[in-house]
Symmetry: C2
Subunit: 374 residues, 2 copies
């Protein structure tokens, strides 16, 4: 085994290391802090954070079959500016990777048999989706994912169906984003964890139309285990394979929240206002939680400072009474979905934000309008 | 006064605010946290941190004469994407700045008479220098400025003369950088504080050849004041005016350090090695203080990990025994002055680094070579 070597393009190796580094964590368990390169019939790099496992396939010419651990940050920096071929071999059980310009050794003493396998259970549903479509859908909802750990079941994106059409949903209780996918779905409803969503956004090309294959699995609770069956999701791109646990919990009845907002507004909103990317680019950054008052009848959007004085004022198009959001939520919303039209029935009732793409709808709860009694 | 207004180009206003924001500090004394716009015969913006005061001149059409305080972060964000004209006026004593897209009000309640004036004393020496020349000179030495506050007199760049030629020097005790300016100097020796050096690097164009005018002043110690006279420096660009205190202290005898290093090496160094930008780009970033061994006779540069194992190895050109620097210092040095040739007399004696520009010389103290007894 010691004279086994693999030769591959240095650029591709660096690109693959950068991808798997997204799921790797600086961990005190050595095997979780590294990427494992496997030179077998289907050479690949893999890394895991126990909840996700990412495999990126490599094109390599090899003699023999072997595995080595690689420290992605060291290798990415060392080989980052290199071109040409890299040769991977074993030196006393550890990686020895050389190009004409630089060599990287180790890390040593890592038992590759410790690499944990993520059980994705029994496949129960499969579907395919174009890269660009998945990217746009995740982009449209991920800003609304909750980061509050007590309601852990909100820490991801809910994959579900609306009248048989696949839909993604995310909410943190203050805003709720729903995106319709224009494709049928009759598989299980699962909650895809936020870190997996971010990994997918790294892997998937924004403008790609290559088909991705997704599989939902059911992981049986172990014998004598108090829990119930859980779900996992596997997504395959042309050169990568991502496995992830799903969040084990019950997603709240988001349709009720959205339904109530839609019903309250009815077909005839009394308040309308258009918020653009130019608007949010001008909002102060230093205290992004400060109230931003949208006052369509006055034709202005106003931001107050900590002393309750208006400091920034912009023209606003719309009709109806003044309402208010914090600057941070406005920035995230418009950053994710572009210009939106807000419609509402009253300043203290939920607003609906509609972007240019009508497949995305966001419900957002207003703040109390500053300076207003009540 | 209340109907006084000034009209100016929004882009120029934002550019000027960005410049003065470099010396402004988020301070609990309101007047130090803002920029003051003065619309008089020579309209300008100014800001101070008590040690430096920067004035940037504005082109404005005005009616009346007035002053207002502006909060740079709010105004920069609000007007950042705007073009066309901005109108500045007074609203209840506070700024009211409008463009066609956005208006900024306040801050209110700031007494502009509180703006402190930096006393730069009696001018004792004047010289002119081209922008690009000053930029290159500061760039060549500033990496070596000490950040350790106990030896406060090292927290700046020393302006001095070597055989009548103007020179800049910086050192933190581990390395010493000296740059000869190719122009005569017979003025006072002063220590220009690091923050002033950074402000100058923001103001001065790297490739500019406009002449800057510099004045050294002597500030008399106040009557009954225990201290002695101190120095100040004033630099004038075509559209700005920077005043700064100099550090009140005695710069160490840097020529002795440099002279000893040069003498020890003599004309015949026993160690030579060339370190390039490609080398430093490949050094691990995660622990930048780790030892980097330069081993010219073995033809390699090697970086160790925390377990004393070599992890990155690169070809190195040179002759002589192995010596060692930390990766951070190598990165800073080569980042500042480009590729260098190190010459030395012994692995534990000071090394001299010579960049392509022979007007810059750096003396650098080596570390103990890891794994070597002694």
């Amino acid at each position: 085994m010691t004279d086994a070597t693999a030769i591959l393009d240095t650029r591709s190796l660096v690109d693959a290391l950068k991808l798997v580094d997204v799921v790797r964590e600086a961990h005190h368990i050595p095997i979780l802090a590294v990427a494992v390169a496997n030179f077998d019939d289907k050479p690949h790099l893999k890394a895991t954070d126990l909840d996700q496992e990412l495999t990126v396939f490599l094109k390599a010419t090899r003699t023999g079959e072997f595995q080595v651990a690689i420290d992605p940050p060291t290798a990415i920096t060392a080989f980052g500016n290199s071109t040409g071929a890299a040769t991977v071999s074993l030196d006393d059980g550890a990686a020895y990777i050389t190009t004409s310009q630089v060599a990287v050794r180790g890390p040593k003493g890592i038992d590759l048999n410790d690499f944990p396998t993520l059980n994705t259970g029994k496949p129960v549903h499969r579907f395919t989706i174009a890269e660009g479509k998945l990217h746009a859908a995740l982009q449209a909802v991920r800003f609304a994912i909750s980061t509050e750990e007590t309601r852990y079941y909100l820490n991801g994106v809910f994959l579900t169906a609306v009248d048989g059409e696949m839909a993604l949903v995310a909410t943190d209780g203050h805003r709720l984003a729903r995106h319709l996918m224009e494709m049928p779905y009759d598989g299980p409803q699962v909650i895809i964890p936020a870190p997996t969503v971010y990994t997918l956004q790294h892997l998937v090309k924004r403008d790609g139309d290559a088909p991705l294959s997704a599989t939902i699995g059911v992981v049986a609770a172990g014998k004598g285990h108090a829990g119930k069956d859980t779900h996992a999701i596997v997504v395959d791109g042309d050169s990568w394979h991502l496995k992830s646990r799903c969040i084990d919990g019950t997603y709240p009845k988001w349709e009720v929240v959205m339904g109530k907002a839609v019903d309250a507004i009815g077909g005839a909103p009394t308040i309308r206002a258009t918020v653009t990317q130019a608007h949010v680019s001008r909002l102060p950054k230093d205290n992004s939680w400060r109230p931003t008052t949208l006052d369509p009848d006055a034709g202005t959007m106003r931001v107050r400072n900590d002393y309750d004085e208006d400091v920034v004022e912009m023209p606003l198009k719309g009709t109806g009474a003044a309402f208010c959001f914090n600057a941070h939520y406005l920035r995230q919303l418009v950053g994710a979905v572009g210009d939106v039209e807000f419609t509402g029935s009253a300043p203290d009732a939920p607003f609906i934000a509609t972007p240019k793409n009508p497949k995305t709808v966001v419900v957002q709860m207003p703040m109390k309008v500053p300076g207003k009694k009540g």
